[in-house]
Structures are given as structure tokens and as C-alpha cells.
């Protein structure tokens, strides 16, 4: 019967097609959209893989005076291992942040900048103080600015002036949010003021001595649209408590209740996870992507070093 052609029938009818298709794929190699799900055994290995990837991307970019590599950065417990590895590469002399510009995703509103739980404190203690980044190139939203929307607009402008973000590294909340784009956020959103969802406040309480009244209720955050504008996005997801959110983000549809799902439509996204984070995925999905690890590992092996330059 006509009209019921199955794609596989195209191949059967023409023996030369597989070779042509292969050459087609090769020529589109640098323009094809790609989604990778990189699954490592545990938190430490996932952190290391992510750090190696970032390291290689920076070095291969060959940043220099006037040609900065722009990096979007997250906070929270997930990226700590990754930051530690990056610091290690820096201390070994393999990686310099001299020509790297960073843009953090978010910051609490109304928390004094030197409060131990502010994202400024987090970035200083866990990253900036250990590396050689120029303070003028480390951008974090100011949650105490007199005009918060103006602060957000200025942040968008800074990203634009820096030439856009080369690689935006992010995490995922248990409710599937990216940055503070809580469930229900517009998938086209830009940097703005957000009221935090109860889920987020509860998840953050552990950083404020378990006292809910001390947790900030508002934050400035990059929008989903802001992160979607990045040339490449890497999402770090580790731990069983994030498993359901990962499932919603990549096995269900694009949905503003699980804002990370927006990255299904981004041309270059990498999800880096540990085994525990895959617990809610289908076995088929996990097996498929684990089977691709030999391809994924080519992105981090060899690990480049600035010493060679």
C-alpha cells in the first residue's frame, strides 16, 4: 500500500544511500544540534567530567586579551565538586581564568552581600578566591540594588556586551527549575525578580539553620530565555533527589512547570549526571546514553593544559 513507507524502506531500496547519508552527517557535524546525556558512576566522577569539559572548552577557545571566554555559573551543593576540580587544575598551572568572564545565574534579594549564605560569599569562598580571575570580569547580580529591575536589565546588557555566553553551566532544582525560574516561569523569560516557590525555600532552609523565617523569599535570576541564548549549556544533576526532575526534564515534553525541559530545544546541551540521578529514567534511555560514553569521553580525554601553549 502506498503512503505507508517506513523510513527503513528507503535504505533497502538504494544500497548507495548509507554511504551518502554518512557523508551528509559528517558535513553537518559542526552545525547539527546535539543533546548529550553523560552518565558517570558517582558524584565525584560526574564533577570531574564536568570540570574537565569546562577546562577543555576554555583552553581550546584560546582566550586572550580582548577575546574572553564567557562562562555562566551556578551555586548550590551540586557544583561544589566541579569547582574544586577546576581550582585544582588552576593550582597545577594547567588552567588560567585570566581571560575568562563569568556571569552567575542568580542572587538572593535583601541578603547582605557579606552574609555567609549570599551567593557572593559562595562564589568567593568556593571559587574566586582560589583562582586568578580579574574581579572586573566576575559578574553577580546585586540583590541589594536600589532598583532591582534596572539591575537585571543592566546584567542582560553586560552579557550582551561580553558577546554572549559561550558555556552556561547550571543545575536543576528538585522541582525542575533552572536558576530561580520556578515552576510556571515563562520559557522566554529574561533576567528579573522572582518570588521563590515553597519547594525552593524548604530546600534552602538547610543553609539557614533550618529556620524557614531566615530564608530569603525573593531572588534575582537569569531567565530561561537568557540561558537559552547561550551558545552551549551544561546542566549538572546529581543525587537521587533530583532523579524525578531529570525524568521530567528530558523524558517528558517541554513544559513551563519543569523549566529545565526548555533545553530540549537548545542546539547544544549536555546533561552531566551520576547514576542516582538517572533512577527515574527508563532503562532504555540510560542504556542508550551509557553506550555512548566512549564518544562522550573523547570530549574530556585528552585533558588539555595551558602549560603546553
Amino acid at each position: 500500500m502506498r503512503g505507508t513507507a517506513h523510513p527503513s524502506s528507503y535504505f533497502r531500496s538504494s544500497p548507495a544511500l548509507p554511504l551518502r547519508r554518512f557523508k551528509l552527517i559528517l558535513s553537518y557535524k559542526f552545525f547539527t544540534a546535539i543533546m548529550r546525556l553523560v552518565i558517570l558512576e558517582d558524584y565525584d566522577q560526574a564533577s570531574e567530567w564536568a570540570a574537565k569539559y569546562i577546562c577543555n572548552r576554555i583552553i581550546q577557545f584560546k582566550p586572550s586579551q580582548g577575546r574572553y571566554f564567557t562562562l555562566g555559573l551556578p551555586t548550590g551543593s551540586t557544583p561544589l565538586g566541579c569547582y574544586k576540580k577546576l581550582i585544582e587544575y588552576h593550582k597545577n598551572g594547567d588552567l588560567s581564568f585570566k581571560y575568562v568572564k563569568t556571569f552567575n545565574m542568580d542572587e538572593y534579594v535583601g541578603l547582605p552581600r557579606n552574609h555567609p549564605e549570599s551567593y557572593h560569599s559562595y562564589m568567593w569562598n568556593n571559587f574566586f578566591k582560589h583562582i586568578d580571575i580579574d574581579p572586573n570580569n566576575a559578574h553577580i547580580l546585586d540583590g541589594n540594588a536600589p532598583d532591582l529591575q534596572a539591575e537585571c536589565d543592566a546584567f542582560e546588557k553586560k552579557i550582551e556586551e561580553a558577546g554572549g555566553i559561550d558555556l552556561f553551566v547550571g543545575g536543576i532544582g528538585p522541582d525542575g527549575h533552572i536558576a530561580f525560574n520556578e515552576p510556571g516561569s515563562s520559557l522566554s523569560s529574561r533576567t528579573r525578580l522572582k518570588t521563590l516557590a515553597m519547594d525552593t525555600i524548604l530546600a534552602n532552609a538547610k543553609y539557614f539553620d533550618g529556620d524557614l523565617s531566615k530564608v530569603p523569599t525573593m531572588a534575582l535570576t537569569v531567565g530561561v530565555g537568557t540561558v537559552m541564548d547561550a551558545r552551549e549549556v551544561m546542566i549538572l544533576i546529581t543525587g537521587a533527589h533530583k532523579a524525578f526532575a531529570l525524568y521530567k526534564a528530558i523524558e517528558e515534553g517541554v513544559n513551563h512547570m519543569w523549566t529545565v525541559s526548555a533545553f530540549q530545544q537548545h542546539p547544544r546541551t549536555i546533561f552531566v549526571c551520576d547514576e542516582d540521578a538517572t533512577l527515574e529514567l527508563r532503562v532504555k534511555t540510560v542504556k542508550y546514553f551509557k553506550g555512548l560514553m566512549h564518544v562522550h569521553n573523547k570530549l574530556v580525554d585528552p585533558l588539555y593544559s595551558m602549560k603546553e601553549n
Binding site: R113, N114, H120, S121, W124, K129, D134, P135, A138
Partner: protein, 409 residues
């Protein structure tokens, strides 16, 4: 990269690869210094977009606040209780020499002396900052003459006095001037001592109890009137007795006014106090322990005879006695030796030993907001020590003022 100069364009020095004593712990953090003070690097990074101009690798040293010696009678042949013509150069010599012991601030101490000595010497002591010329002078410590005859120790009996008649006026007449006086040691059982203690405390002078036969209630009364220190605990006071602990009982007294802490000096040279006694005191009241040297003119010199005010003393190794007797008279221990010995004898942590010579004396004198810690905005008086707590380098106001050279001299 220098800062954006919005606050200052003075050079910023970052001491790296070190362990610093902060918040009662040795932390692996860098120490940042600008304009003689400890700088907050996070504020520098975010507010001024600044970073270090100079980075110094400390080779994994311990960095601790400079030691503060609140009882030192002299050293290197200099006796602070002797009114010589070259008294000023004597005090300069000692202040310079003790840098190598890790002392960055001190209180030159005068033992019981005739009024003429106080009138001549005190005007020559000025409170001043330390630097390359030597350790800073915080003010004089006057140990006597208003002390007990029974517990005079090495102090000359003929110079002892009371303030029975004119209380504070008697004291003022004896000393002449209190301008540069920081601490006064007296015996609280003396008549009218409460008035005197209140007057001194009102003027910001720290009152210390010592060379006394006071019982515990007399000592507690003195504390209630403002006394906050005990001069060389155990020495020159009644021994601890279980029905009247005497001055020693202040360590665990429940009559100390709220918000007030009693500090006590200890000479941990291994001679003045048995290590077991040192441990008892430390365990009873660890936050009050202040290490002092009580060093005399012979400190830093060869064994033999030296003067201590109106007396002649004899040095034999670490022991110093009034010549021809077995009465201890001061010590020849150095501050860093005392810190090491204290740490060994009590088995306490390195942090505790270091704080007993820096934080606690600063708290005693009410200057811990600028001395005795490595907190942001404190004066950058600090030491580099190795793991054995030997001083490798001394810094005052962020400048290196002494360094252990390769020959170890």
C-alpha cells in the same frame, strides 16, 4: 592587579600557602594586608575589584597574632626599675630584641621602687606603636609598692608602702604620673584598696592582684570593684586551700560580676610553676590564662649576677634567685619558650597556646578590636612560626621587622 583605588592606592600584600589563626582555629586561608592592617579580601574583590599587588609564599608556616607580654621587667642587661641616664635607649634595646621572641607589644614592668625611681622613669616611658625599631609599648605595669610584706618575693621591703592615709592620693604621689600606666599590681587586703581599685579602674588602668595574702572574699571584693587580673598565679600569694582558696579561687569563683572575666598571668618557664599546677589552672579557667615572661635584666645574657631594681639577682640556667637565697626573682625565659612549654606541659592545642600569648592579653587590656587577633581591620602585627612554634619572622603593621636567618641567630 591593583584595586580600582576607590578606597586606597596603597599596595596590597597577600600571604599565601600558610595556616592562619582565626576564630580560634588554624585555617588554611591567605592573609591579606594593606596599610598596616589586616584586609578583607572578599570586600576588596567585590567592592574595589581589587587583587594583590604582591604575593608572598609562606611555605606552609603558621601565622599567628604577635605575642603581647604584659609583665617584663627588662632584659639584655636593661632593668626597667633602674633610673639610669640612658633609660630610653635601654627600653629601645629591649623592645628591639624581643621581636625575635615574637613579642610585638609589651608593658615594661617596674618592681617595687622608691618614689624617686617612678618620678624619673615613668615620664620616659611613652605609649607608642611598634615597628622596625621594636615592639610597641602599651604602657607601664607597676608591680608594687602597694603589696604585702609577707609576700614581697624579690621586692625590697624598705620600699613597700600602704595607702591607708590618703588612698588614691597616696598612690598618685608615689608614682607621680599615671599617664602611661596600663596595669597596677596591688594587694587587695590593704586598707582602702577598694577606693584605689575603683579610681584606677575609672581611669582605664587595669588592676591586678598579686604579692598578697588576701583570702578569697577579699579577692572577690577587689574584683567587684574592678580588678581584672592576677599577677603570676600561685607565686607570691597564699597557696590554694580547700576551705579558703585565696586568690587562686578567683578562677572558679561565682562572685565575678556578669560580663567580667578574671584573667591570670602564668610564667610557664617550667620553674615558677609545676606543670601539674599549670594544668590545674588551665583546666579550671582556660579562657583567662595569660602567658607572661616576668623576664628580668638577665634575660638574653649569660648566667651570673644582675640587678633587679634595688636587688642583686643570680642567674643559673633558667633559674633566677635573689643572690645568696632560694627566693625566685623573675625569669629569663623568652615569650616563645613560654608558649612552647605551655603547649607541651598542658597538651593543649597549638591554637590555645598561641591565644594565651596574644588574644588573652589583648582581651585583658581591652584592645582585642585591634591587637591579638588576625581579624579584618586589626593591626597587622603577626608572626610566622614553624610547626614546633619557633618564630621564623615577626611583622608589625604589615612590615617584616625580624626574620630568622639561615644561621639561626
Amino acid at each position: 592587579m591593583p584595586s580600582n583605588k576607590s578606597v586606597s592606592d596603597a599596595p596590597i600584600v597577600q600571604f599565601t600557602n600558610c595556616r592562619i589563626l582565626r576564630s580560634h582555629q588554624l585555617q588554611r586561608e591567605d592573609l591579606w594586608v594593606r596599610e598596616g592592617k589586616i584586609l578583607n579580601p572578599e570586600k576588596l574583590f567585590f567592592d574595589e575589584k581589587g587583587s594583590a599587588d604582591i604575593q608572598l609564599d609562606c611555605k606552609d608556616s603558621i601565622i599567628a597574632p604577635g605575642f603581647i607580654d604584659v609583665q617584663i621587667n627588662g632584659g639584655f642587661g636593661v632593668d626597667f626599675s633602674l633610673a639610669t641616664d640612658d633609660f630610653k635607649s635601654g627600653i629601645d634595646l629591649v623592645s628591639q630584641k624581643i621581636l625575635s621572641h615574637g613579642v610585638t607589644s609589651f608593658c615594661p614592668t617596674l618592681v617595687t621602687s622608691p618614689p624617686s625611681v617612678y618620678h624619673q622613669v615613668l615620664p620616659q616611658i611613652s605609649i607608642r606603636n611598634g615597628g622596625a625599631h621594636g615592639a610597641g609599648i602599651l604602657g607601664a605595669h607597676l608591680e608594687g609598692p602597694f603589696i604585702s610584706k609577707e609576700k614581697k618575693g624579690a621586692h625590697p621591703e624598705h620600699c613597700l608602702r600602704t595607702f591607708e592615709e590618703g588612698a588614691f592620693q597616696d598612690l598618685l604621689a608615689t608614682y607621680g604620673s599615671l599617664d602611661c600606666v596600663r596595669i597596677v599590681t596591688l594587694a587587695p587586703e590593704m586598707k582602702r584598696s577598694s577606693e584605689v581599685i575603683r579610681e584606677l579602674t575609672k581611669r582605664g588602668i587595669c588592676v591586678s592582684l598579686g604579692h598578697s595574702v588576701a583570702n578569697l572574699s577579699q579577692a572577690e571584693e577587689a574584683v567587684q570593684h574592678g580588678a581584672t587580673f592576677i599577677t603570676h598565679l600561685f607565686n607570691a600569694m597564699l597557696p590554694f586551700h580547700h576551705r579558703d582558696p585565696g586568690i587562686v579561687g578567683l578562677l572558679t569563683s561565682d562572685k565575678i560580676p556578669a560580663g567580667q572575666r578574671v584573667f591570670y598571668g602564668m610564667i610557664s618557664d617550667g620553674i615558677h610553676t609545676n606543670p601539674a599546677a599549670l594544668r590545674i589552672a588551665h583546666r579550671a579557667h582556660p579562657k583567662g590564662l595569660v602567658l607572661v615572661t616576668d623576664a628580668i635584666a638577665g634575660m638574653g645574657l649569660a648566667p651570673g649576677r644582675h640587678t633587679l631594681g634595688q636587688q642583686v639577682v643570680e642567674i643559673d640556667g633558667l633559674n633566677t634567685y635573689i643572690a645568696g637565697t632560694k627566693t625566685l626573682s623573675g625569669s629569663v625565659a623568652t615569650m616563645d619558650t613560654c608558649v612552647r612549654h605551655f603547649q607541651e606541659a598542658t597538651g593543649c592545642s597549638v591554637e590555645t597556646a598561641l591565644e594565651a600569648a596574644s588574644l588573652h592579653p589583648a582581651q585583658l587590656l581591652g584592645i582585642e578590636h585591634k591587637k591579638g587577633t588576625l581579624n579584618y581591620d586589626s593591626d597587622a602585627d603577626f608572626l610566622m612560626l614553624n610547626d614546633g612554634l619557633y618564630v621564623q619572622a615577626t611583622y608589625i603593621a604589615g612590615e617584616e621587622v625580624w626574620r630568622q636567618d639561615a644561621l639561626g641567630m
